[in-house]
Symmetry: C2
């Protein structure tokens, strides 16, 4: 009998992984947003777009959507707004004029450079509750879960009944 064992037909939310993930994530996202949203007048989708473009320049809107798990409408609007604020530049791909090539402007980069240390500081504060070894373990476990969801998605699509 392990800590996580339970009767098969009782949903103990406090031990149910999707519930626990959603709980800790909602709190972490809110605490993080507290630190950048108002100060920099950025919505959560806007910051997500800037964050991925800071890390991976010249993505298409689609690719941004994949990396942030946001749908294309949300991405499109965040990019429009960021472009109005001159934080993101959208060009057209040479080889395919449907596709856009998104990148941070120098203004966007400057804001990105201001926010990054703040969010890293927050992450460091959060991680202080874990040993270095635990951090690596957590990273590994999340990776395993991610791989697993990819498999499940593939399976589920094959059996849509």
């Amino acid at each position: 009998m392990t800590k996580t064992a339970r009767k098969s037909d009782v949903l103990e939310l406090e031990h149910f992984l999707p519930y626990r993930l959603s709980h800790i994530t909602a709190i972490v996202s809110a605490q993080l947003a507290e630190r950048y949203a108002e100060p920099f007048d950025l919505s959560v989708p806007e910051w997500k777009v800037m964050a991925v473009l800071g890390r991976f320049p010249d993505l298409s809107a689609n690719e941004v959507g994949e990396k942030t798990v946001m749908d294309k409408v949300t991405v499109s609007r965040a990019v429009t707004r960021l472009s109005e604020k001159s934080c993101v530049r959208r060009r057209l791909a040479k080889d395919d004029k449907r596709r856009s090539v998104l990148s941070l402007t120098s203004k966007g980069k400057a804001i990105h450079r201001e926010i990054v240390p703040m969010v890293l500081h927050y992450e460091r504060e959060l991680m202080e509750s874990l040993t270095v070894r635990e951090r690596d373990t957590l990273s590994l476990l999340i990776e395993k879960l991610e791989k697993r969801t990819e498999m499940l998605a593939a399976n589920y699509l094959l059996l849509p009944s």
Copy 2:
């Protein structure tokens, strides 16, 4: 130099805990909702309310909000809709007529009983990627992070500048 080490001013999203949590949670939540939302005509907030009431009967709307990290407006509306569908009963607390006492009706319980095995099955599929020991570790790590966010919330409120 550990796996998670990095330069202090570069945001490598693929190693950034809030990003990774948000990524895996979005996918898990979506895969879970796929399994109950349409089949049972339940929105995500509605299912969350039913799930906590199945586990903790006779909560107030406020308490439901705390347990699900949903704001009171969302809870209020989910409860209204569930009540219209005769899945949840709302009574008034004897000792404080502002407070409601929420519980699943027999119909609500029946639906709950149908969904629970499905979501537990999904969780089991997800967890198959981890050893029993890893499951316990993950549980412990999430708990530590939760505790930590509580501390940070308290601190941040004290220094609102």
